[in-house]
């Protein structure tokens, strides 16, 4: 019974925590511009992140190592610098997008500029990290994130043509604006395969002291949690395809996209959109801040753990404090959060091989995984998806930037 509750809670938190600035922003733009044409990218990204989280949970349960910790002991510190540097940059950019997204949600709800909201939002995130525990943060915010299920309700209310939706799950020939299509596909993959989710998941598993007996739960939570979570992102894309695309609204900014729920949900649409964006971004910002502390602490061998008091792990707490201060700067400068998000997602994909490659090596090492090393399907699926995303990013990003 206890393990069933654990599985249920794990799935619920995955669903509630799935939507954040990246997944909302990319799904809105993709749906508004190409309708269902990019659903396949979301499905592909979900398969990949489900495999990756399962792998890192397995690593933590069997070896009691986090991903970063295992990579450091397997390859040495001089190697660790490369993936660590890449992940710090990616995490900081995405954290800035999340702070921007939460601040903009408050601007949409109140009419007060996001520049004004950037400081209170950053302080709220910092306070939750300073005073909260890992479980309170992970489960509390993610359960609040279940508000994002309003997108699923909206889609049911809108009643899409399901055959057309299903057709979107198969990659099609790029339409006229191929560069934008590929760029959005890259953005969706970057939002789905977030490196911070992988290292955060494994750090959480070590904090919660998972054992080999938790492997079954890990598999169910990774597959069902990510699967159901992606249904919410798919709903965002479908809602944008049904409400914004027919009106020629391309969702260039959150102001344009905020009305996406107002047709199916009436006067509740705008408040629910703002709540989804704010809570989704807040949850992701908490996870990202913690992840930055986790990866630096695990790389340099500092004391770490969100369940410890800040005085017991001063460098861990100092890291997220500095990270939050740095990440609030773009919002204070008034940079458009959606543009920053799209940029961050593209950079994420470029950095993915550097972050995932070494993990695949560790996951095939019997010293860490004993008899639980990766099988052929897991290796092949992750390598192919990351390879496709990387090539797509190398082709699409320069073309898109030169054309815009």
């Amino acid at each position: 019974m206890k393990s069933l509750v654990k599985v249920g809670l794990g799935i619920l938190t995955s669903i509630g925590g799935f939507l954040e600035a990246g997944s909302i922003g990319t799904a809105l733009q993709a749906g508004a511009t190409f309708r269902y044409g990019l659903l396949w990218a979301l499905a592909l990204g979900t398969i990949c992140i489900a495999f990756l989280t399962e792998m890192t949970g397995r690593l933590a349960a069997v070896s009691h190592h986090t991903v970063i910790d295992a990579m450091r002991t397997r390859f040495g510190v001089s190697f660790q610098v490369w993936p660590l540097g890449a992940q710090v940059i990616v995490d900081l950019l995405v954290l800035a997008s999340e702070i921007g997204g939460a601040s903009l949600a408050l601007e949409l709800a109140t009419g007060v500029s996001l520049r004004v909201w950037a400081v209170p939002v950053t302080l709220i995130i910092w306070s939750l990290l300073w005073f909260g525990t890992f479980n309170a943060i992970e489960h509390g915010v993610a359960l609040l994130g279940l508000v994002t299920l309003c997108f699923v309700v909206a889609v049911i209310e809108l009643g899409p043509e399901w055959r057309a939706v299903a057709a979107g799950l198969i990659p099609q020939r790029a339409p006229a604006d191929g560069a934008q299509y590929a760029y959005l596909a890259v953005g969706i993959l970057g939002a789905s395969i977030s490196p911070y989710l992988v290292s955060f998941y494994s750090s959480g598993a070590v904090e919660e002291e998972w054992k080999t007996s938790d492997l079954g739960m890990n598999r169910v939570v990774s597959a069902l949690g990510m699967g159901f979570g992606s249904l919410v992102a798919i709903s965002v894309m479908i809602a944008a395809a049904l409400v914004l695309a027919p009106r020629g609204i391309t969702a260039d900014s959150y102001q344009q996209a905020a009305t996406v729920l107002s047709i199916p949900l009436g006067r509740w649409g705008l408040p629910l959109f703002c709540a989804s964006l704010a809570i989704g971004c807040l949850g992701a910002a908490l996870e990202l801040s913690l992840d930055l502390s986790y990866i630096l602490a695990q790389s340099f061998g500092w004391e770490w753990g969100e369940n410890k008091r800040p005085a017991e792990e001063a460098r861990f707490a100092l890291t997220y404090t500095i990270a939050l201060a740095l990440a609030s700067v773009p919002s204070l400068a008034g940079i458009d959060p959606l543009r920053l998000t799209m940029f961050s997602m593209a950079i994420t994909v470029v950095a993915l091989p550097l972050l995932v490659g070494p993990l695949i090596v560790v996951m095939n090492d019997k010293e860490y995984l004993k008899r639980h090393t990766n099988g052929f399907i897991t290796n092949a699926a992750v390598i192919v998806i990351i390879g496709v995303a990387f090539v797509l990013a190398l082709l699409a990003i320069p073309v898109q930037w030169l054309a815009s």
Binding site: D177, G248, T250, P398, V399
Partner: protein, 146 residues
């Protein structure tokens, strides 16, 4: 040492790939121009849609004002960007810049008077921008085929 070797091995192919891809990406003035026209049309459509939602009491007036003031600001930026595009035919870019200026004026007027009477004209300008964007895209496609 191993780490440095790994870094060189990983980054060198990536740098090579970028060097191979970049020269293939020539600047595309027609496509960029078409996208700016579509952005302007999208803002026009967003303003009309939000105004309709406000009349139906589905969104508050404060939000509609926020959308309209952001749209006016964005349209001014698009207008100056279009006007500065030397590689586009001067008469068509002047016309597009004028449409953006007219849209900006109508939205500002709507913000001041809180009257939806200009919705028809905004829709008309939106359609003109979309037609011009389609023409720019077709011209660009014909150019690339040549």
């Amino acid at each position: 040492m191993n780490g440095t070797r790994f870094g060189v091995r990983t980054l060198a192919p990536a740098a090579l790939a970028i060097c191979l891809v970049l020269p293939a990406c020539r600047r595309n003035p027609g496509l960029a121009y078409a996208r700016q026209l579509e952005r302007a049309a999208s803002w026009a459509s967003a303003v009309v849609f939000t105004t309709e939602l406000e009349q139906q009491r589905r969104v508050p007036a404060r939000f509609a004002d926020d959308v309209m003031s952001t749209a006016a600001k964005e349209l001014r930026a698009i207008q100056s960007d279009i006007a500065a595009r030397d590689q586009v035919n001067p008469s068509s870019r002047q016309q597009a810049a004028d449409w953006c200026a007219r849209l900006d004026g109508l939205i500002e007027q709507g913000l001041r008077s809180r009257s939806p009477s200009s919705a028809g004209e905004i829709r008309d300008l939106e359609q003109r921008l979309r037609t011009a964007a389609r023409a720019a895209r077709s011209a660009e496609a014909a150019e690339s085929r040549r």
